[in-house]
């Protein structure tokens, strides 16, 4: 046995050696990025349920992704490139992925097929009380207004040279709705899934820092002090009818929203109908947790250094922030309009909650309102636009999907 030769082979096969050749230093940077994300998720508790999984997926894929052809790799970028290449024999072949893929390739099928985001929406539906929205339907308008950032960022992305599919995927970050962003991007521009998902979840976690300055800038002290009247009580029958009505109207209007809106409303119907408590409980807890595990790690897997470290990612991060800011502005402006039209009965701060990010955005509106007037309780009023934002972003995603698919 030639010990020297064996040592040399071991060194050449090791991951440490791969950092020194063929742009392996990029993987080293991504490992550092994943550690930062892990720090933000664990220490700063930025959306930890997803960010920790994404960060660890990022770590795993950049540790193992030394050669695209390596059979031991957890994630094979080349397989997914073939999957999307219409001239390749493996075009749209999940069989090829199952045959040749690693663990993360197989888990990623759930993202690519749009299964995980839809199941997450089912869980969100089962956890959401639409009562505040049903009692005050005009708050739906705030949810629509807060989609302004989606379309402005889309326009901005086209101006920066992105194609239509990429621009639509970037724009949806402004919807502040992680599952919707993942769903749309996986359909339109899967290559950008990593940066878009990370940008979406990071900004959602940063809402308490991003929104308050904009809220204070666009509203006066007098407006922020407005105390809103108690909403009416919503009957059980109304709560049962709501998911059926929304599913009917929204899916008929935009059939491409069916997976997201359908699952959201089915989850909510299970919650409200009162005869499927077991299912509602499973969807809210067990299923949601399982899907979150798969979603986080497989989205993290798309952050392969060779794709992630590019000028595009920087542009996406910048456009994502712009989208978030303009979505907040859109909601606030319509909130101010409602304030004027109702003679000061609506506190415009609740408009900022129109960006989905349930319930973080509503909490921010509550805390800003209470800073202006300690006896102000805006939380339930802000929950209306907040859940309306979920519906609004699903409609926006459905529109973009219908146009660019």
């Amino acid at each position: 046995m030639d010990i020297l030769e064996t040592l040399k082979t071991l060194w050449n096969d090791s991951g440490f050696h791969s950092f020194l050749v063929d742009g392996g230093w990029k993987n080293l940077i991504m490992i550092a990025v994943s550690c930062v994300l892990l720090y933000l998720g664990i220490k700063k508790q930025f959306e930890p349920l997803l960010l920790v999984g994404i960060a660890f997926g990022c770590l795993l894929v950049n540790l193992s992704y030394f050669s695209p052809a390596s059979a031991d790799a957890l994630y094979h970028l080349d397989l997914w490139d073939n999957f999307l290449d219409s001239e390749h024999p493996d075009y749209h072949s999940y069989g090829a992925i199952l045959r040749n893929g690693g663990l993360l390739d197989i888990l990623y099928i759930g993202v690519k097929a749009g299964v995980y985001p839809s199941l997450i929406f089912m869980g969100i539906g089962a956890m959401t009380d639409f009562g505040p929205l049903i009692s005050n339907p005009k708050s739906l308008l705030l949810g629509a207004a807060a989609q302004m950032g989606v379309f402005l960022a889309f326009f901005g992305a086209v101006c920066l040279g992105f194609d239509g599919n990429a621009a639509a995927s970037i724009g949806i970050i402004g919807g502040a709705d992680g599952p919707t962003a993942i769903f749309l991007t996986s359909k339109l521009k899967p290559e950008l899934l990593g940066p878009i998902a990370i940008a979406a979840y990071s900004y959602m976690a940063l809402i308490p820092m991003i929104q308050p300055p904009i809220m204070r800038l666009l509203t006066t002290e007098k407006e922020r002090k407005v105390k809103m009247e108690q909403s009416r009580m919503v009957s059980k029958t109304e709560k049962i009818l709501f998911p059926i009505i929304v599913a009917l109207f929204v899916i008929l209007l935009l059939p491409s929203t069916a997976p997201l809106v359908g699952c959201l409303m089915l989850g909510n119907l299970w919650r409200e109908c009162g005869v499927t408590e077991r299912l509602s409980d499973t969807v809210q807890n067990g299923l949601m947790n399982i899907v979150t595990v798969f979603l986080g790690i497989s989205v993290g897997a798309t952050t392969v250094a060779s794709r992630f470290l590019s000028l595009e990612t920087i542009k996406i991060v910048g456009l994502g922030l712009t989208a978030f800011c303009f979505s907040t502005i859109g909601g606030l402006l319509v909130g101010k309009l409602m304030y004027k039209l109702t003679g000061g009965k609506v506190n415009p701060l609740i408009g900022s909650a129109g960006v989905s990010a349930v319930p973080m955005a509503a909490r921010v509106a509550q805390s800003e309102g209470q800073k202006a007037n300690p006896s102000n309780f805006l939380l339930m009023h802000a929950m209306g636009p907040n859940v309306a934002g979920v519906i609004g972003s699903a409609i926006a995603a459905g529109f973009l999907l219908a146009v660019f698919k």
Partner: protein
């Protein structure tokens, strides 16, 4: 694609579970047809002017969809509000009518002394008291531990 499916079919049949093999075979064929029919998902280049129009149109579609939903919710809300108001009015009317009618006179206890009430049918109080006393004596139990439901004269 065909080759891949055939390989999978053979592998499944090897598992000696015929219904599963048939089911999976059909599913695979369907998937193959779907994927081959699926439109090319290639990125669409778009001009800045088109992007502007798409953005404005998209934002309008979101508002339109939400507006329809809002109108439907207002309509259902109005129906339920009307229903609630009706029920409330009916309840108030019922309360008012109960206020106007005199309070029902409390029933006279029929057989004091025994546990609970006893209903008497064509039996005077005196005779009922005697019967109860005799029964208690025969049973060797105090009267207040016995519960007489009714005493009826058999004619």
């Amino acid at each position: 694609m065909e080759l891949e499916n055939t390989t999978l079919d053979v592998a499944i049949i090897g598992g000696a579970d015929e219904p599963t093999a048939i089911f999976l075979n059909e599913a695979i064929q369907e998937t193959t047809e779907m994927t081959t029919k699926e439109s090319e998902n290639e990125a669409k280049d778009i001009s800045i002017a088109d992007a502007g129009i798409t953005a404005v149109f998209g934002y309008s579609v979101v508002f339109f969809g939400i507006l329809i939903l809002m109108i439907v919710l207002y309509c259902t809300g109005a129906i339920f509000k009307a229903k609630d108001a009706k029920e409330k009015a009916a309840k108030e009317a019922e309360n008012k009518s109960t206020k106007n009618t005199p309070a029902p006179v409390a029933e006279k206890p029929l057989a004091p002394g025994s546990a609970g009430h006893v209903k008497l049918f064509d039996v005077p109080d005196k005779e009922a008291a005697m019967i109860m006393a005799i029964v208690a004596d025969k049973m060797q139990k105090p009267l207040n531990e016995l519960h007489f439901i009714s005493i009826k004269e058999v004619k």
